[in-house]
Structure formats: C-alpha cells, structure tokens
C-alpha cells in the first residue's frame, strides 16, 4: 500500500509590498521585487486555514490530525491548530497540535504526518516581520501551505518520499526572544559558512538513503531564510534548480519549503524526482518522486495563479500600520469587545466552520443557524449546512468610515449565496471604491480584531478568485 502526499495546497495572501516603496520612504532598505503581505485581518492561523481549504477542496479526505507549525503563533499557551481544526469542520476525533518556535519545526509536522497512521494534515504558516529598512522586512513574506500525508486507499498518492537525511548543529544565526516583534541576525558570512557544509552533508546522505544519484534528480529546490547560504548552495544545482519565489513573494520562513514544493507539484509531470533542501538551524534534505496520479490532479488554487493575482497597491505606511510598527489614531468609537468564551464555545460550528441551519421542510437556510424557521415557523427541524465554500453575489453594500477597524474603512456587504442563504459580512482584500451590486464573492477565514488578548476569528467575504 503506497503512502505519501495525497493532497496539498498553498495560500499566498492578496497583498504585495513593492520593495522599492521601502527605499522611497526610508532612503534605505527595500530593493527590487515584491513581498507577500498578510492583510491586517490575517495571522498564521487564518492563513493556515486558507491553505488547508485549498488543499482539501474538492476531495472527501477527512484528516485524522491537524499538525500546525509556525514561528509566529497567534497564541502561546493555547493551541492554534484547534482553530484550524474547527474552521475545517473536522470531527472531534481528529487530533490538533502545534509545533512552534523556529522554521525548522515545520520538519517535525511533516515527519509526524508521514509517519503516523491515517490521513494527516500538516500546515506550515508564517508571517515574517522585520524592523523598518532591515533585510528581513524586505526579504520576508507571508503565507502558508498544507500537505496531507496518507495512504493510496484514502486518495491517490501524488508524491512519494524516497529518502532523506538531516544535519544538525548548534549555532547562532537568527534569533528572537518570545514576544519580540522581529528577529535579529548574526553577521551573514558566518551563517553561510556554517550552513554550506551541513547542507552538503545532508544532501549526500539523503541521496544515498533514497538510492538516487544527483544525475537522477530532475528538480532541486533549496529553501532557507539565510539568503546568502541559499544562493551559495544553489550554484551547484545548475539548471535543475527551481525558483524559490523569494523575488515575487519574499521568504515565508516556516511555510516556505512547503509553498515551493506546492509550486513544484502544481507543474510536475509523473515520475519527476525532486530534491528538497531546507536550511534552518541545520540542514535537511528530502528526495521525493511524483506518481502517475499527479497527471490527473488539478490544483484548486495553483501557487502561480495566487502570485499573479497579488495586488501591489499597498502603501508602505499601511504595511507598517498593519504590522504594528505605526500606531495610528483610532476613530472616536469604543474599542471592540472581546468575544465571550462560553458564547464562542456554544457557536463553534457557526463561528469557526460557518455552518448554518437548513429547514428540512421549507429548505430555508439560516445564517446564523436558527431553531425556528423564518419560513413556516417549523421548530427544531433543521439540518446543518456548511456555507464556507459556497460562492455568493453582492445584494447591497456600504463603506463604513466610522466603524472601528484595524484598516479603515470597513466594507460591509449583504450577500446571497448560490442555492440560497443570505448573510451580511465584512468584505476584505478589496478596494472600497470597486465594490458593486452583483459582484461575485467567496468566503475567507479571518481575524476580525483582537481584544483583551483574545483573537476574534470569523468569516469574511472577498472577491471571487475566478
């Protein structure tokens, strides 16, 4: 029975920062190209949800676990994977667990997902910050990717793991104290000279473990936050080297190896052998091979399409505001209130999974769910209906310039779902001047705001990708 990657999906947020805007504003920093920017209402958890939705869309895989890794967790001392688990409407019997800390932690969830029985969803997500003008600010990127490891019996294996090796060492390259808003970096020539021998060692042993020579490798992906070491190692890869996307979306840290692999798989033919090298506090090399099944696989949201859809109209001052480096004057409105834990617990299906209720007799869909039908008044004759993946059309809308928002103005839309159901939602990833009645939208999981240490997660509408 074959085992390997049976589903995958990446998420690249909508917004891009043109790096030249940093240089223009600060007279330093920046550079060429773009970085992907998580919107003000996104964090590593919400991006992880979007990646997982892209991975699972159109399949009937029910993961037995949600394994989440990030270097920028929304919560400490509270599991973030459980919010992803809830947003995916997974059963109570599925495990949800975080592996946090450094980008290297993503390797743990991959290994666990591959090794544990069942179908296991590994979600790597990161939101990269940096002090204004720093290399991290310009070179970082935000995004997530999700891979499901499982058996052929559940869903056809798209890519198998042939072998791998690790090289570990203790050295100080980049580091961040808990609670700090950014990382610090040692002089980069030091890191380069530590990483290169570690990488060569891992690659050599990984090829041996897989029983493949370098000439048997079709594509080589080299990923790591140490750009100089990645460049140095890339020279030996020659024309087998695949682009690491850092020029277009920046380096997404914990998520980056997974996003690059997703991009490779999007375009891969059957039988391609891939060497994936991850430089992160050591080096890890894996050898993978695509199966015949990948020929029939149509990714729901290809990485290339998500990159091309990006919007680089984002201003640098807004980017700084979103990341908390600029503290702008709020409207003269009360601060938002934290969601209550008991009400949120009672409405988990609604708040996290966007599940409404459908009257069995009239078919009327109620968002939020109701016990008494608005059509016919039937009591407690409802079935659950998940609306997260149902597209909708704008019935009317407004732009609220008075409401509290982390990025005013707030856009609100009344939307009618295909096949029935209506909801008044906030809209995101949109130019307020471009909203029109009749526009098509889809739902996205977001963080509305945070209050008194609690993140308020819920669903918003965004322009439909199609």
């Amino acid at each position: 029975m074959g085992r390997g990657i049976i589903a995958y999906g990446a998420y690249v947020p909508y917004w891009r920062l043109d790096r030249s805007k940093i240089t223009a504003a600060m007279g330093a920093g920046g550079g060429r190209g773009h970085r992907a920017v998580a919107s003000y209402d996104e964090d590593t958890t919400t991006m992880g949800v979007e990646a997982a939705r892209n991975a699972l869309r159109g399949s009937d895989i029910v993961p037995d676990s949600v394994l989440f890794s990030t270097a920028n967790p929304a919560y400490m001392d509270k599991t973030n994977a459980s919010a992803i688990h809830a947003a995916l409407d997974l059963p109570q019997s599925s495990w949800a667990v975080d592996a946090g800390g450094a980008p290297r932690s993503s390797e743990a969830i991959w290994a666990l997902a591959a090794a544990n029985r069942g179908a296991n969803l590994a979600v790597a997500s990161d939101l990269r910050t940096g002090r204004p003008t720093s290399g991290d600010e310009a070179g970082g990127g935000d995004g997530a990717a999700a891979f499901v490891f499982g058996d052929d019996a559940v869903s056809p294996v798209l890519c198998e793991w042939l072998g791998g090796a690790v090289a570990t060492a203790e050295f100080t390259d980049r580091y961040r104290q808990p609670g700090d808003a950014y990382s610090r970096i040692w002089e980069e020539r030091f890191g380069e000279q530590v990483y290169l021998p570690l990488a060569n060692d891992a690659i050599e042993r990984a090829l041996a473990d897989a029983g493949v020579g370098l000439d048997g490798i079709d594509k080589i992906a080299i990923v790591g936050l140490h750009a100089r070491a990645v460049r140095g190692l890339s020279r030996v890869a020659g024309d087998k080297l695949v682009g690491d996307l850092t020029g277009e979306i920046g380096n997404t840290g914990t998520a980056h190896a997974a996003i690059v692999l997703a991009a490779v798989l999007d375009d891969a033919a059957p039988g391609e052998t891939i060497l994936l090298v991850h430089l992160a506090d050591g080096a890890t090399a894996d050898v993978l091979r695509t199966t015949d099944a990948i020929a029939d696989h149509a990714p729901y949201a290809p990485v290339r399409a998500q990159i091309d859809r990006g919007n680089d109209a984002l201003d640098y001052n807004k980017f700084l505001t979103w990341r908390g480096f600029l503290d702008r004057e709020p409207p003269r409105r009360p601060d938002p209130e934290r969601p209550g834990a008991p009400p949120a617990f009672r409405s988990e299906d609604w708040k996290y999974a966007f599940v409404g209720s459908r009257d069995r007799s009239s078919g009327a869909i109620h968002l939020p769910p109701m016990r008494v039908s608005m059509e016919g008044g039937a009591v407690d004759d409802m079935e659950r209906v998940r609306m997260a993946d149902v597209p909708a059309t704008i019935a009317t809308f407004t732009v609220d310039r008075l409401a509290f928002s982390l990025s005013p103005p707030m856009v609100a839309v009344v939307i009618d779902y295909d096949g029935g159901g209506r909801f008044q939602a906030e809209m995101t990833d949109v130019d307020p001047d471009e909203v029109r009645i009749g526009d098509r939208v889809e739902m996205t999981f977001r963080r509305l705001y945070s209050a008194e240490g609690i993140h308020n997660y819920f669903w918003k509408a965004r322009p439909a990708a199609g």
């Binding site: 409105r333 949120a344 159901g421 819920f458």
Partner: protein, 400 residues
C-alpha cells in the same frame, strides 16, 4: 384575537420639550426636571396629580429611580423601558394604555437621553457578551445599505441618488432653522451637504441625524376628562408597534428598499385611525429620518408616495414645510437632534404645536391653518434595515 386600538379614548393635555443639543452644562436629572415641569405647567397640573410615570431611555439610566430621584416622586410607580430608537414612543404607548385601561386617571410619558457625555462619535451601547460574530458596522452604515439598493432597483444613477438625499437633509435643516428648540438652527447649502465628509457609503456627515442631549414629556388623561385641563387637547387615534423577525440579513427576498416593520405598523395604525389615504388625510408627519435614505424609504412605506417615486416627490417639494404633506416640519432627527429616549415624544410635541395652531407663524404649516386638516402622524424606528422595531401613532385635534 385582534388588535382594537384605543381611538379617541386617551388625550394629551400637556407637553414639555427641552431644547435638544450639546448640553455640556445640563445633566440627565436637569433635563428630566425641565421637561416634566414644563409638561405640568402646560397641562396646568402639579406633580401630585400624576398617578404613574413611564420613562423611556436607552442608556441614560436604569430603573424607575432614574426619574423618581430627580423629581422626588412620592412613591409613585415608574416604569423604565427601552425599545432602541423607538424608546420614547414606547413610553408614550404604554402610558396611554394604562390610562385607557382605567388603571390610572393621569399619567406621564417622559423620555430622556444624554449622548454627548460618552466622548464618542455616533451611538454607543453596552452589548451582552457575544461570540464575536455579530455585525459591528455603525448605525449610518446599516442605513446606508438602503441607498445603493434603492438606486439600483429604480434606476437612479449615483449622482441623482446623492441629490435626492441631499435635498432631504437640506429640507430638514431648513425646517430646523426656524425652530428655537432644534439642535441645528441654520440652513445649510446643498453644496455643503453634498460635499461633507463621507461617513458611510454615500452618506456624508450632513446625511446623519444630530447626536444630542434632550428630554420631552406628555401628560395623558382619559379623553372624557381632557377638557378639565385643556381647551384643545390632542386625541390619540392610533398606536401601533411592530417588532420584526430580523430576517433581512438572512432572507434573500428582502431588497433593502423598504422596512417591513414600518409597512406593518403603518397598516395597523391606519386601520385603527380609519385612514384610507394617508397622503391626503394627514396634515403632517414626523418620521424617523435618522439618515437621509431612511426618510426617502419611509415616504413609500408610510404610503405618502408610490413605490419607486418617493425620490421624485422629495425632489418636487411634496414634503416641504409648505408642501402637500409636510414631513418633519420641526427639523426632524436631522436638525432637531436625536436624543434616543426623547425623540418619539419630541415628534408628538411638534404635532401638539402644529395641530393646535400654536407653532410660530413663520413655521405654522398651512395644511392645518388653511386646509383644515386635523391629523398628525409620528413614526419612530429602532434597529436597522432588515432588523427593526417600528412605531406609528396618529393623533388628532378633534374627536371622531
């Protein structure tokens, strides 16, 4: 099972209304004292004559003590109630029923709100703990949802829609300019209104009602007792209230060009009052113009204009002070101001002045003095399009 109404059973024999505005120098207690004592004086009674009180306030106090303490009431019953922006009307409705039931001979309905102490823009209010999924858009944003929906349905381009809304604000400011009790007592040029900073959707700051402090009160007795206190009382012809199922944001058949609650409450009120053609039978209307698109939609919901033609009537001046059917002759929420709990009673106060011919000559409506019409309508709304409570009253200066 039926609603019967209390037509001609209860009369208003005295009213009081403070100036509305930013009363930095006056407390809730001050305003309640002023409105109550103005109403006693107006009715020629003393506080001891009042048997029971209904106090409406959304957030400026809780319990009957909010009224009994500043007025030093002598252990009389005080009901404190809230029904969003229709709170003042709700106090009036329940007070009227208490008289009609025979439980009391004379009662007071009084409303108050102090909004300007909060330091915030617009309305604020404490909400119970929630799961965090409730809409957090502001009141102007919820009502601004009407504008694109109306324009889309009836084929108005955005500029025309903006002109219509601007004219409604211009009309209400013009009316308020003549009213010494109004918060804003200046005419405002249409260009100024149209060019004011945007608040929500197409609504600028001049499309929004005034956030203010104020209080208003009425003294009610049985109709047969009215002439003991007053030569020209106002009689209650109809009182209706509709609390909706709040399905506008769930139900795709709702198109955001109407308030179903208003249609229901107006239909009920017209039945109680025996009104078949409100446009011609009513001398004036005070309606809940919280935001300009609200007044536009209300003209159609209340039957003052055909569906889809309210905007043309508004542009033609039908609802101006000297129009066929003056709407908000006192300036409305727009320029008189909107201290929540007081607004419903403020609307009745304008009927009290106009229907009895006691408004100053410069703003006395000709529909009363020249055409001899005797009926006035007040309409008070709470909530938002698709999830509202609506109150309609009809009052008249003659029995029968």
């Amino acid at each position: 099972m039926s609603s019967h109404g209390i037509r001609d059973k209860v009369a208003i024999v005295g009213m009081g209304c403070t100036q509305f505005g930013e009363h930095w120098d006056r407390s809730v207690d001050d305003m309640l004292t002023d409105a109550a004592h103005d109403a006693y004086t107006s009715a020629g009674v003393t506080q001891d004559d009042i048997d029971a009180f209904w106090l409406g306030t959304m957030g400026s106090g809780v319990s009957g003590l909010t009224l009994s303490k500043p007025l030093q009431l002598d252990y009389k019953p005080v009901t404190r109630l809230e029904n969003m922006c229709a709170t003042g009307s709700e106090a009036f409705r329940n007070a009227a029923y208490a008289v009609a039931s025979g439980a009391y001979d004379m009662v007071m309905a009084i409303g108050v709100e102090k909004l300007k102490d909060s330091g915030y823009s617009g309305l604020t209010g404490a909400r119970p703990p929630s799961d965090g999924t409730d809409s957090t858009i502001t009141a102007p944003a919820t009502f601004s949802l009407l504008a694109p929906a109306y324009a889309h349905k009836y084929g108005l381009d955005p500029d025309t829609m903006k002109e219509v809304l601007t004219r409604i604000a211009w009309k209400n400011h013009r009316n308020g300019a003549l009213n010494p009790r109004a918060q804003f007592r200046k005419e405002v040029a249409k260009e100024t209104i149209a060019g004011s900073p945007l608040i929500a959707g197409p609504l600028g700051i001049f499309d929004c009602s005034g956030v203010s402090d104020g209080s208003a009160a009425a003294v009610l007795v049985r109709a047969e007792d009215a002439h003991k206190y007053c030569d020209n009382p106002l009689y209650i012809k109809a009182l209706s209230f509709a609390s909706g199922p709040a399905t506008g944001a769930l139900d795709s058949t709702y198109d955001y060009t109407t308030f179903r609650e208003v249609v229901a409450s107006a239909t009920e009120a017209y039945k109680q009052a025996g009104i078949t053609d409100p446009r011609s039978q009513i001398a004036m209307a005070e309606v809940h113009d919280c935001f300009t698109p609200t007044e536009l939609v209300l003209m159609e919901d209340l039957g003052f204009a055909e569906r889809g033609l309210g905007w043309k009537e508004a542009m033609a001046g039908t609802f101006d002070l000297d129009g066929d059917l003056p709407v908000n002759p006192d300036g409305g929420l727009k320029s008189f101001g909107h201290p929540i709990g007081a607004s419903g009673l403020r609307m009745l106060f304008e009927c009290w002045l106009q229907l009895r011919g006691q408004a100053p000559p410069e703003r006395q409506i000709p529909s009363v003095t020249e055409q001899g019409k005797t009926l006035g309508l007040t309409h008070n709304l709470g909530g938002q399009p698709g999830a509202a409570v609506s109150f309609v009253s009809v009052v008249g200066s003659e029995l029968g």
